[in-house]
């Protein structure tokens, strides 16, 4: 068997394998979307299961919010130089009165929202009005659902 025939056989096997994978698994998806399809971790919730009236918490840094904001979401940025205490104090009434709190960051690969949820439960649990959960898929899920709006002008003190 000549080497060129051997190469052709090898490439043919690879092409068949790749095509079969595509047929079975579907079109390759982005890493972020792929991460959304894994089973929910404890404390996570999918957008379609979030009830009305929750307090939304945006855990994204300032630069990420240029992509769009969720109306009425409060901002708690665990990566900000401002202490979390001061940020919580600013939103005390909202956190105290919330029936349920849902935190989101960029997408399913971002773990800032999980870290913030942990800190809120551990340090401020007695302050919060309701359960704290993390949105699976983050802002990316909200964007696909058409929930994000153009960024609003900053409010002094926020």
């Amino acid at each position: 068997m000549t080497s060129s025939v051997q190469v052709a056989i090898f490439l043919g096997i690879a092409a068949v394998g790749a095509s079969a994978h595509w047929l079975v698994q579907g079109r390759p998806v982005s890493a972020a979307l792929a991460a959304e399809e894994t089973p929910l971790q404890p404390g996570e919730v999918r957008l379609e299961d979030v009830p009305d009236g929750v307090l939304w918490v945006d855990a994204r840094p300032e630069a990420a919010r240029a992509d769009g904001e969720l109306p009425d979401a409060i901002r708690l940025d665990p990566a900000s130089a401002e202490s979390l205490d001061r940020q919580v104090e600013r939103h005390l009434e909202a956190l105290f009165g919330a029936v349920e709190i849902v935190i989101f960051c960029d997408d399913a690969r971002c773990n800032l929202s999980h870290e913030l949820a942990k800190r809120l439960r551990e340090d401020y649990g007695g302050l919060l009005g309701g359960e704290v959960r993390v949105l699976r898929g983050g802002a990316a899920a909200l964007r696909r659902a058409g929930r994000l709006e153009a960024p609003r002008a900053p409010v002094p003190g926020q």
Binding site: M1, S3, Q6, V7, I9, F10, A14, P28, V29, S30, A31, A34, R60, P61, A63, A64, D77, P78, A79, S80, A81, E82, S83, L84, D85, R86, Q87, V88, E89, L92, E93, F96, D106, R109, C110, N111, L112, E115, D123, Y124, G125, G126, L127, G129
Partner: protein, 221 residues
């Protein structure tokens, strides 16, 4: 047949070529740092050149890049992934992941998987951070333990509350090491929220002023 074996070997060698000296690193940061820099050294242990196409971290608080922005590595050549973690208001143990894809890597199979654990000192530990009374319940005194976890002593200078319904008393258990903040509501008849500000003489500004919280709310069924 030899050529077939050669091409198969080539296909295998194109993956898993990057060998990282320490893929998981643990850093104990100083209390006053704003950024923590970490370097992950790697080597192209394969027989073919590797070009790193993309680096990503699990947090926008970690900036990642390649030293000298060098992307292509010949066999045997060494390189460094440089990561800079912005401390922000994080405290305690923080875990972050970094992934790197070489050209040809599938989305789910990055050539580089790096782990970073940063220990940020908590100089002033308050336990609990939030006090709670049931509305209509007994307005008993409750206590927040304040323990200093620095080498040098840190003293509580004053504690204050804007909400006049709460009386505060600072008790010194051990000067510079251990204090108790005793909080007594005048009344629990109404639901209430309070913020207590605790000023210390900590030399690190971001730890100097601490806050604690209190709530009076209806008892849970």
């Amino acid at each position: 047949m030899k050529a077939l074996a050669f091409w198969l070997a080539f296909a295998v060698a194109a993956f898993g070529q990057l060998r990282v000296a320490k893929p998981d690193q643990e850093i104990h940061a100083k209390a006053d740092v704003r950024e923590v820099e970490v370097a992950f050294e790697f080597e192209n242990a394969g027989s073919e050149p590797v070009t790193i196409a993309r680096l990503e971290s699990s947090c926008s608080c970690v900036r990642v890049g390649l030293k000298d922005e060098k992307r292509r590595y010949e066999p045997g050549e060494k390189g460094t992934v440089e990561a800079v973690f912005e401390v922000g208001n994080f405290s305690g143990a923080v875990h972050k992941m970094i992934q790197g894809w070489a050209e040809g890597d599938a989305q789910g199979s990055p050539s580089l998987r790096l782990g970073l654990t940063i220990h940020l000192p908590v100089l002033v530990a308050m336990e609990p951070k939030t006090l709670r009374w049931d509305q209509g319940g007994k307005p008993e005194t409750k206590t927040i333990e304040i323990r200093m976890q620095a080498d040098d002593p840190i003293r509580v200078k004053r504690a204050s509350a804007l909400n006049e319904n709460f009386a505060l008393e600072v008790e010194t258990v051990e000067e510079g090491r251990h204090y108790r903040l005793k909080v007594t509501p005048q009344s629990t008849a109404e639901a209430a929220l309070a913020v207590f500000q605790i000023e210390t003489d900590c030399r690190v500004e971001r730890h100097r002023t601490q806050r604690a919280f209190a709530t009076i709310r209806p008892a849970k069924p």
